[in-house]
Each structure stands twice: as structure tokens, then as C-alpha cells.
Amino acid sequence: MQVFLQTLVGGLSLGAIYALVAMGFSLVYRTMGLVNFAHGNVVMIGAYVASTFYLTVKLPFVPAMVIALVITAGIGLVIERVLRPLENKDFDLMLIGTIGFGIVLEALATLIWGATGRAVRNPVQTAPLDVLGVRIRTYDLVVLGVTALAMVLLVLFLQRTKRGAAMQAVAMDHEAATAVGIHVGRSNAIAFSIGAGLAALAGGLAGPLLYVSPTMGGSLGIKGFAAAILGGFGSIPGAIVGGLGIGVLDSYSAGHFEGYSDLVTFLVFTAAIMIRPTGIFGERTVNRA
């Protein structure tokens, strides 16, 4: 039982990171109808920038995260601007274009920070809590808390603000959105940069949990995307559920199948998609013209 719970706790904190990544995927999809395969690499850049300002420049953790957020949002703007000619035209081609950006980002990271990677010191240096014999690291709680906060803010943004509503309107019907006066291009650019900002949040928080390296984007991106689809692509609560689900699945398969955890995770994921392609919460229908 104790092992079971300990595995669950470990899975949840990693799952929270996946959930943040998934939220970025879902937001961009819901507002633009685009899948950004470079998202994982933006997460990686976020992790590097945050850790650089935290470890090398010796800023406190929070300002380092803010800088990372701003820089990745800028990267998001660049990606959106370059691929804009393909928007609402060729979906698969855009997908390949974002893969191209992913390759570029990974190469840039290797050039700037080297290929070896680095470990990031835990910013919350308190003793782990002990609940019913299960050890819970304080940092895990921080990660879960930030994820929950990000979800709440994002849902509020989409449901309560004018800009948030406009972004969704663009994805549902960009012609009608134009007719009510929404600048579709600008709306997409903002959506993309918020998505990238979420990536930085995920990357920065993942730093102390995982090892920061140029290749971390690949696995975080794929698992995060899988989480988004599992939860129901485009749904924010779906991203959370999917992320936690993949995290826990990962954690248990690592416990039971050791090295084969990725194999098991992806086979289960494939089976889940085959059974229910629209995910747990159902894909948010996007009318792509």
C-alpha cells in the first residue's frame, strides 16, 4: 500500500509537468487549430533559460522563471509569424514546419549550453513531509500548486476575458470572428505566445525534477502531447487529467516494468487512442475552414 501511494505521489508531480505541457498544446490547438510539434523543445528552452538565470546568474527562482516565460513567448511569436502563410491552408505541412522548428531549437540549445546537460538544485530546501508513511517532497507540492493555479488562470482567461473568448471564436469560425472585428492574425500570435509561456513554466518547474538537457524536449513534448490527446484535445481540464494520468501511468510502469516503462506507456496510449480517439473529455470541436 505504501509503495502504491509513494508511486502515486511520484507520478503526480511528474504528471503535473505533463499537464502543463499538455495545456500549452491544447490552448494552441483550441485557439488556432494547430498542433505545435516544437512545443516540447520550447519547454526545453524554458528549462535552460530558467536554470541559467537561477544557477549561473544566481537570480532567485521566481524571477528566473519570469525571464524564461518572456523569452519563450518571444520564440512563440516567431514560430507563429513564420508559419502564418500556412494557417488555415495545409494542416500537415504546418505540422512538419513545427517539427522543423523543434530541430532548430534543439540545435540552438546544444550550441548555447552544450550537449551534456545539467542538474538543477531544488529551490525549496525543506525536509519532505511525511503523510501516512509516504514521503512528499515540498517541491512536488509546489509543482502541483503552480499547475493548479495555471489551470485556474487559463480557464478564467478563456471564460471571463474578452481576449480569451475572441481566441476561441477565431478557432471556431475565423470568418465570423473577422466580421465582429477580431484581428485573426494578432489573436493567433497571442495564443501562440501564451502557449509558449506555459511551456516555459513547465520547463522551469521540470528543471529540479528532471535533468535539463537538449533532448529533454523530445520526451516531455511527446508525453505532453499524448496527455493532451488522452484528456481530449483542446480541453483544459482534459489536459490536466491526461497529464496526471500519463504521469501516474509512467510512474507505475517504471515501478513494474523498469526500463520498459516507455514501451508500456506508449502501447497503453496507442490502445487508448484506438478505443477512444476523441479522448476522455472529447475533442473540442474546431471548425477548420
Binding site: K162, A166, A176, V180, I182, R284
Partner: protein, 237 residues
């Protein structure tokens, strides 16, 4: 002229086909003009070209004395031209009220917006009853009302409507007609593109009858109502 919407020699080409051939008309302030004709006569293309959603091959459009040629579609609403697209095009995944508020996207959301919202609910009470329902779950007639309501939220002086009666039952067409008459009486200028001639004759004072991209007839709605040629154009006799 104040509030006058004037179209001169408008032509539209789609992939080599001439959809609209050099048509001209004027909507004076507070006037309501109808454009009728069978499917494929070029009515919708005319409206979409006026909105800037498809490129015009030639022609000039002025509103309130200002040249509207260079105005992108997204800024029409800021010139107080509202548009109700064919096939309704509501934001299906958003609640009714959010749809309406988005209609006022170009304005500040404040007490005035709230007042506009109440006006729309007064015009279409059913929307008020369903304000938190997803727009995609509404019936066709309710979606049409929502689409009109959304366009009204921006406080337009001219409303362009593209086939508001499409796919609606006669009862619902009458409801739409009543709403249009009310708007007309409030002094809103209307440009109504329709297949349903009866609705158009009752909602407007003057009409253009289009056939194969050209204006086949013009006249007051009263005259045209009695003209048998209109029916022939419709039924292809």
C-alpha cells in the same frame, strides 16, 4: 451624403467565373433595400465582396461619404457596418451570451454593452432564456436570431444580412421578419439578400432582382410583388 451607402459598378470574379457583373445601388440612411433572386444568382457574392471577404474585381463603395475600398473585413464593424453571414456562423462552442458579447468585440465591454445585450434579449426573448446554452446546441431559427443579435451588439448603422430565412420554417421566417421590421422602424439601414421574396418585399421598400450575376429588375417592393416576371425568374420558366 450622411449615412448613405453607395455601391458603383461592383464586379466579382471567382476562379475565372464572373459571379457579379457591374451592379450599382444605394442605401440611403434608414432605408431598407432587398436583393432577391434564385440560388446562384450572385447575391451572396455581392454581400461578401461588400464586406471585403472576397476580393472585388472592380467598383467603388462609399459609406457616409468615406471610401470603403481599402477597409479590411475586420474593420467594417468599426465603421458601424454589421454583417449576418449566410448559414448563421455562430460560435458553436461558446454560450449564447458570449456570442453576443463577442459581437461587441470592437467596443468596450461596459454598461452600454449590457444595455445592448438587454435590447437584443428584448428583440429575441428566446435568446435571453437560453443565454448560457452553447450556441451549437440551438435550433436553426434560434441560431439565426443569435447571428442577427450578435451583429446588432456592435451598434451598427447599416446591417448586411445574407439569407436570414435559409432553412427556416414559415413560422420562424415570420419571426425574423417581425424583428427586421422592428429594426427598420428604429431607423437602422438594411441591406437584405434573400431568396425568400415574400420576406424581402415585406421587410424592404425597394428591391433589386438578380439573375446570373446581373440586376434583372429594380423597383419598389410593392411593384415587384405584383410582377409576374419575378416568379418566372425564380422558377426558371
Amino acid at each position: 451624403m450622411i449615412g448613405e451607402y453607395s455601391v458603383r459598378d461592383l464586379s466579382v470574379h471567382y476562379g475565372g467565373v464572373c459571379a457579379v457583373k457591374s451592379i450599382s445601388f444605394t442605401v440611403a440612411e434608414g432605408q431598407s433595400i432587398g436583393v432577391i433572386g434564385a440560388n446562384g444568382a450572385g447575391k451572396s457574392s455581392t454581400l461578401r465582396a461588400l464586406m471585403g471577404l472576397v476580393p472585388r474585381s472592380s467598383g467603388t463603395v462609399t459609406f457616409d461619404g468615406k471610401d470603403m475600398s481599402g477597409v479590411p473585413a475586420r474593420n467594417m464593424v468599426r465603421h458601424r457596418i454589421g454583417y449576418v453571414p449566410e448559414g448563421r456562423h455562430v460560435f458553436g462552442g461558446l454560450p449564447v451570451e458570449k456570442n453576443l458579447l463577442l459581437g461587441a468585440y470592437a467596443r468596450k465591454w461596459n454598461a452600454e454593452t449590457r444595455a445592448s445585450l438587454e435590447e437584443v434579449y428584448a428583440l429575441f426573448p428566446v435568446l435571453g432564456e437560453m443565454s448560457d446554452r452553447l450556441a451549437g446546441a440551438l435550433s436553426g431559427g434560434q441560431q439565426q436570431m443569435l447571428s442577427i443579435g450578435r451583429a446588432l451588439m456592435a451598434g451598427p448603422r447599416l446591417l448586411l444580412l445574407d439569407e436570414p430565412s435559409m432553412g427556416l420554417s414559415p413560422k420562424l421566417v415570420d419571426d425574423i421578419l417581425a424583428a427586421l421590421q422592428k429594426l427598420r422602424d428604429q431607423g437602422l439601414s438594411l441591406l437584405l439578400v434573400e431568396q425568400n421574396a415574400k420576406l424581402t418585399f415585406e421587410a424592404t421598400s425597394e428591391c433589386l432582382v438578380m439573375e446570373n450575376g446581373e440586376v434583372a429588375m429594380t423597383g419598389t417592393s410593392e411593384e415587384l410583388r405584383k410582377d409576374l416576371r419575378v416568379r418566372k425568374i425564380y422558377l426558371g420558366l
